[in-house]
Symmetry: C2
Subunit: 355 residues, 2 copies
């Protein structure tokens, strides 16, 4: 009993590649090749192997596979927080595309917590992720240097370190926001407020700047007291709206840096008896699913999560597979979706009536 395998840990026989090989009367190498669809396997043998696999109910062990091959087949996806509706939609898209491309995905959420971020990175390292998409819209990026140092392909949104292996998803914030401002201007709005995201975030700054720029293009004066900083949360939207309401005069329209903020604005407006859009027009950003069913349905600027996901996976894949054609940047478009939270400003209709 010298070579008896240690069977103290498990009751049943291990049910590994060897069992399959034995049952199919081939070597384990052939089984391995069959599973991996190496084309040079004799069709007869392959069939025998597959039958054995099915009869036994054999399932290959991913960890062993990864260890042997040196490829984990996993892509990491780091998001800010999963309970923010923007992200599940992104995750869903990312997962779909990743699976299509033969990858599995490892999701981590940072919750804006530096400690948690370190844990995330560690996990990605330990699990040997072959590529990582960092979609946090945050300032956590420097922390990901550890990944870049180990030559793991990375993709960031908007901005990231300029290294080989690092790709960027460049979101064209300007286009959607310009459409939004023009939409408001066309309706007759001249008094337009803006609730930004946290200004430490690149994406928030870009949106804010794009708004100011679009305003100027339309020949509308910016009013600093109506330009307030939010934090991309519901509560932030509510508070920001409160600030705007405290101003001597009130804008006839408010544009928001994301939909959650806009929903907060809707909520606050409801609280103080302002009707949307009769008394106040509101535009959101992101076009999350929820935007279709707010009361009233929210006019918003769509940034396609599916596009983001697709581009991210594609960018990573180009780096991972040899012979890929890695680009540095991938453009992501945005555009306005008009629903029912925008209308003529209050004055417009009474002017018509009085004439």
């Amino acid at each position: 009993m010298s070579k008896t395998p240690n069977r103290s840990r498990k009751q049943r026989a291990p049910l590994d590649i060897r069992s399959v090989a034995a049952r199919a009367n081939v070597s384990i190498a052939t089984v391995s090749r069959t599973i991996n669809r190496v084309p040079t396997v004799n069709a007869k043998l392959a069939k025998r192997v597959w039958t054995a696999i099915h009869e036994l109910g054999y399932v290959p062990n991913t960890q062993a596979r990864a260890l042997g091959s040196g490829r984990s087949g996993m892509l990491g996806l780091v998001v800010s927080e999963i309970t923010n509706p923007f992200f599940p939609e992104l995750i869903q898209g990312f997962e779909d595309v990743a699976i299509e491309n033969g990858f599995e995905i490892l999701i981590s959420s940072t919750n804006y917590d530096p400690k948690r971020m370190e844990v995330c990175i560690r996990r990605l390292l330990e699990r040997k992720a072959e590529g990582v998409a960092i979609m946090t819209f945050g300032i956590e990026q420097p922390l990901f240097e550890q990944l870049a140092e180990r030559n793991i392909p990375l993709v960031f949104v908007d901005a990231g370190p300029d290294r080989p292996g690092v790709s960027l998803l460049k979101v064209d914030y300007g286009h959607g926001i310009r459409q939004g401002v023009q939409h408001l201007a066309a309706l007759g709005h001249r008094k337009i407020g803006f609730i930004s995201g946290p200004m430490r975030l690149h994406s928030a700054r870009s949106r804010s700047a794009a708004f100011l720029h679009a305003l100027k293009e339309c020949g509308i004066a910016a009013r600093p007291e109506w330009h307030v900083e939010g934090d991309h949360t519901l509560e932030g939207g509510i508070k920001a709206m409160e600030k705007i309401l405290e101003c001597a005069s009130r804008p006839s329209a408010v544009m928001c840096s994301n939909d959650m903020t806009a929903i907060g604005v809707l909520h606050k407006a409801f609280r103080v008896g302002l009707r949307v859009p009769a008394d106040l027009s509101v535009i959101g950003y992101d076009d999350i699913q929820m935007a279709k069913v707010t009361i009233p349905p929210l006019t918003s600027i769509q940034m396609s999560r599916v596009d983001l996901a697709k581009a991210a996976v594609r960018a990573l894949k180009e780096h991972i597979v040899e012979g890929g054609n890695p680009q540095r940047e991938y453009k992501i478009d945005t555009h306005l979706v008009v629903r029912e939270s925008t209308a003529y400003p209050p004055g417009a209709m009474s002017d018509l009536k009085s004439s």
Copy 2:
């Protein structure tokens, strides 16, 4: 050059446990023990090992670890769809608790698609999940026999196969729903409608039955035409509400099998000019975060995602660690959260006025 390691795949030296051992002048066993915090390691040596680890930037390889130890350290979490707001909150809770208990988590969403479910199961098998929580509230359960057969600890919501290793999270739907109905009855409602979930789901049937039961308790007659089947989605809520509006007479309150349905009802009411709660009271179920900020904020029945998550991880853990104390069932409580979508029925106030 007989023992030269194959360095064709990677540029740098492998940076494995051996490098650490060499640098710290100890055996790899000692390194392994140090990493795994085996208490019998000499403090001096341990310190040397840790320094070496930090200096080298060594990160253990999870797959190798899993392979060697036979423990993957992963718990599976299967949900229906990640874009349904109920689930991200659950996932978040599950992840937190799992990490606290030293597990990693593997998320799969079935999207109600049988093919996708098979893929989920396969992944869980391939990755050697040590336990799986199936929180789909669905009928997919029979498909998970494959897991049960392999003696993987499982936890289901409400109902599951009666096998060793399988635990159940028994949600007390009745309590919350009774509170809801009593709340409406106390306000004076006698005409109460109900929009159920898909009746093929256990959870939906339970909620529906609990509603009928509570109605009887309060001495209120059930009106079948106001009891319509939805599908737990927004669109389903809208359609179901349309059906109710087609009835000869209209209920003064509608209770919903989940919050998404209730939001659909709110939306439909808005569309047809019914004011909530003045003309119609609405109660949801689940108390998702969004419920706080609907217009008006939604009275709902809370089923704690954190409780669910905690119980699930605990149930699995009891089975996994030896010396655990596995129970078959874990109770999950529900209770009413009153907000602003419920009020006196329309008649009540005019009665007061006319007197």
